[in-house]
Amino acid sequence: MNTPKRAKFLVHSFLLLKSIYLRHPLRWLLVKPIVITFLLCSCGGQPENPDNNNGNAGNPPGNNQNPNTNEPNTRPYTLGSPLVRRLTREEYVYTIKDAFNIDLSEQQKNLLPKERSLSGFRNSATTQTVVSEHIESYQKLAQEIVDQIDFNAYLAEYAPCAETKQVSPDCAQTFINNVGRELFRRPLETSEINSLNKILDVSKQEGFNFAEGAKTLTYAMLQFPAFIYRLEVEYDQDNNANQARRLNSYELASRLSYFIWSSQPDSDLLAVAEKDELQTNQQILAQTERMLKDAEKVQRSTQRYLWDWLKLTGVVDAQASLRDALIDQYQTQVWQKKLPLFNLLTNQELHLPEDWAVQAGLREPLNNSYQYPVFDTRTHPGLVGLFAHPATLLAMVSSDDAEHPFIHRGLYLHQRLFCGDEIPSPPESLRTSIDEFSDNLPEDISLREEADQLHAVPQCGFCHKLFEPLAFPFEPYDIEAHFQNQDKHGNSVRTDGTLSASMTGSAQQQSYKNIVEYMDVVANSPKVRRCMIENHLRFALGRELEDQEKPAVSELLQQLENSNGTYSDLVRAIVTHKSFTEVLVQ
């Protein structure tokens, strides 16, 4: 039944039930079905928009699953639309570092416009834009980079033949091919070689020597689309539009390196690509294993992932040590301890700044060999995993939103941990009721009591129950992420609660007594597990997933659950999945 018909049907059902109810002597027994029927109508994802037909009929906001099977409502898997990907600010910086061994200064990095994201991950090509500042910064940075290059060493490496005073055309071509292959991550095309030769000719005509010409060529290449963008263009007339084709070895080399290292392929990877030895899963996995061993480079990528996933921009600089401790914890647990991915949510060895740990009553660190000391938090009632780490709690809600921590924390968890749909703005009639209701509550009741009372108002509860309960166990945490047993009014705070089956995607509702149990429920939630895989796949592909690609998430989850479940296992599963190795021909 489409949405307008459903709405009409439900309104009529409501009126009918209401008339029965008003006449029935046992009407108190009927109150619940009537209320639920009404709410399904008023809060069915588009409360003010009965004409809407965006395909979400029958589900409340935040639930895109088939209520009968807990499986996503998706079509069979096909590849998503291909998109060129501009190097992000971080990718550009790392690429320059790896290509030229140049660390761009903070001032230079800031020339590149801040990446904007509509949906969390800043490497999403779906939302990448190009503004004038990009073009000007690429030009300016290219100049500054070539000025920093030691051209004697550079020419010795890329054009050893140029040592003689008279540089032959062949030698110039050697330079163009060698530098171009590294910067473009593939051999040059004829049009690119022709363009670069024209530049060299002009340079020669204007009286510049070969070293100066080589500098200009590098300056130009740093602005070419083949450097700024990952293009994945296969010039083959035989490819049929809208058919999948396997990426060639150079394209796969770039995908691997920007996913695993956030940077360009190294010379080994390019050499493998040159031999076309990235065409089987075995070949891809061999390179992946090698790449995963480069601790410095892999941590760039995981740090970027964590930063965007947990929205760590929300942690103010004054709390930077907490944020850095969380990153240290994540990197350590992923790369050194090699914990299974879902255990990152439940682990009770937290990295914390010393002063913060002392304040939380944690005195003896387990380990001091990492950047931040590691504390066993089993004696603490509320410190566990990534999401009950004080840095994440700070990212969830800021001091300016102190009045409604459940709403802000709940929405944060709903979006980032459960991948819930956007919760639409409540209709005016309901919001007025909520405001009036809140104004009339006693001032000294606890947050949980206030939420319980608000949720008991059916019109409010039906929507707010979808996300606020996700934040209930965090009630003891004040707005500065300090654990308190009582709130400011002296009320005891609660950490217990229940998560419904639809929230977790499990077969039945699950109760918990404290944050540790809550995180255990969450880590085992099918919905959360899918969400964590989906986020990694979005990050790996550098774009948003389309509906028809969602089955890939289930396949990857299954592979991960059949392995040791570590981050490295997930990387292996992703890089050999066809969503990663294939592309639609346009």
């Binding site: 307008p4 928009n49 809407n52 060129v84 670069l196 689309p225 800021s398």
Partner: protein
């Protein structure tokens, strides 16, 4: 109408002195499109508006207050005879999924959204640009998006108004007036200050020129019809190409190329951004905080001044300007007088959004909307300054269509949304178009004024809503 310009101009000058954008040291530039305009008129070709601006304001307009120009529309009264107002527009069919930022991919597009944050097609500024200039406009800047916005929770689409055909964001907007100034005028060399380059410098410039030519050539190759890239990717590469062309034009020696005219004046000083409570860059994903209405107004007016100057210099022809994002997660402070009464926004306990809409405080809503209109009118006034008539004897505003829009009607309704047209050389009949229409009808009417024959999107869920008729003169 025209007689009132002089009095208005006197008043405006008092404001402009503070804005420092009309300081001493201005230089004159030519209007490259004057000849084009004259040639078109002589050849009997399309002589409709040559520019399009979408102008957004947040939080809707109370439909009950729109019947004449005595309510929140009062500031527009001097332009009443040049405005077409559509105050019963429905966007219900567009799959907005909510009333604020969820509407942004729909607002100046009129088509059903493709996804949460992807529009169903191109916004009208891009469509008209493509229609009038298939190979890109002949201006230094192809497209502009600027405005003022603050924190909007997780509502990250709040500041985006220009959308590509594939539904992706076309323009990242500029908030700082100083950055807008740099974009518009940063590359220009004041007249009389350029020295002839020495031979070494000239050689260097020639090489630089060849590099830029090669880079542009590479992007051009990828964006063309023979490209193997898909449409969405080609659009992204095309955006890069257009920005490179802007850079190329900036490299041209302005002094030698352009002829001085009265209309175009480059400000001699870079404006200083007004101080704000939060850094300009800390613009979204944040909590509620307070903004002084005077500061907000000052920033917007600086944008307005720069837009007017940029348009007079024909630096760009298409873009979006906005007076705050959507949803308004801001607690305003300050007071504003309208309808003979002063309204104090300070310390109302909630955002104006909550007061206006959720508390149903129509009086405050009217004051707020009056204040917004007052400032949008300031922008329109700058475009309509009769001191700067163009080649056809018209003001910039006459040669341009400004499409004003907001995200919803009253109480988050998507059924009675306000839109208006201003300018466009009198190509439309002014007045109130109160019949119920769809958003796509308004967008079709807008692009129709540029001679675009094709319809933007499908008309669905009509519910008695008809296409706009009788608009054209």
């Amino acid at each position: 109408m025209r007689q009132s310009y002089r009095a208005n101009r006197q008043r405006r000058r008092a404001i402009s002195r503070r804005s420092l954008l009309r300081g001493a040291g201005t230089i004159a530039l030519g209007l490259p499109w004057l000849e084009e305009m004259q040639a078109n008129a002589a050849a009997g070709e399309f002589d409709g508006p040559s520019r399009l601006c979408t102008l957004f304001f947040p939080l809707g307009l109370d439909p009950s207050a729109q019947k004449d120009f005595s309510g929140p529309l009062e500031p527009y009264k001097p332009m009443a005879e040049r405005m077409a107002i559509f105050n019963n527009v429905s966007a219900q069919y567009c799959g907005g999924g909510g009333a604020h930022c969820e509407q942004k991919p729909v607002l100046f597009v009129g088509e059903n959204k493709k996804g949460k944050r992807t529009s169903g097609g191109a916004s009208i500024d891009l469509l008209v640009k493509q229609h009038l200039h298939p190979n890109g406009p002949p201006t230094p800047i192809a497209q502009l998006s600027t405005g003022v916005w603050w924190a909007h929770g997780d509502c990250n689409t709040s500041m985006f108004h220009s959308w590509n055909q594939d539904g992706t964001v076309a323009e990242t907007p500029i908030k700082r007036p100083s950055v807008l100034f740099e974009k518009l005028f940063g590359g220009k060399v004041p007249k009389g200050t350029t020295n002839a380059p020495d031979p070494e410098r000239l050689a260097y410039l020639n090489v630089q020129r060849s590099v830029l030519d090669s880079v542009i050539d590479q992007y051009d190759r990828l964006r063309g019809s023979n490209s193997y890239l898909g449409i969405a990717s080609r659009e992204k590469i095309d955006a890069h190409f257009q920005r490179l062309r802007e850079l190329e034009r900036k490299m041209v020696d302005v002094d030698g190329m352009l002829t001085a005219t009265q209309g175009c004046q480059i400000p001699g000083e870079k404006p200083v951004d007004p101080k704000t409570h939060r850094p300009y860059e800390d613009d979204y994903g944040g909590p509620v905080f307070t903004v002084k209405i005077g500061v907000h107004q000052e920033i917007f007016r600086m944008h307005s001044d720069l837009w007017a100057m940029g348009l007079r210099c024909d630096l760009f022809r298409f873009g979006s300007l906005f007076y705050d994002g959507c949803g308004d997660n801001v607690g305003w402070s300050g007071d504003y007088e309208a309808f003979g009464q002063k309204n104090v926004f300070t310390n109302i306990g909630q955002t104006v959004h909550t007061q206006n809409i959720h508390k149903g405080n129509r009086k405050m809503a009217a004051h707020f909307q009056h204040w917004v209109a007052h400032n949008l009118y300031y922008y329109l006034q700058q475009l309509d300054d009769p001191m700067f008539l163009e080649a056809n004897g018209q003001t910039v505003l006459d040669n341009m269509l400004v499409v004003i829009g907001t995200e919803y009607g009253w109480n988050h309704s998507l059924k009675d949304i306000f839109h208006a047209f201003v300018g466009a050389k009198g190509k439309f009949k002014p007045g109130f178009y109160q019949s119920p229409h769809l958003l796509v009808d308004v967008m079709n009417a807008a692009v129709g004024l540029f001679g675009m024959p094709q319809r933007i999107g499908e008309r669905t869920n009509l519910k008695g809503r008809k296409e706009i008729t009788g608009l054209l003169t």
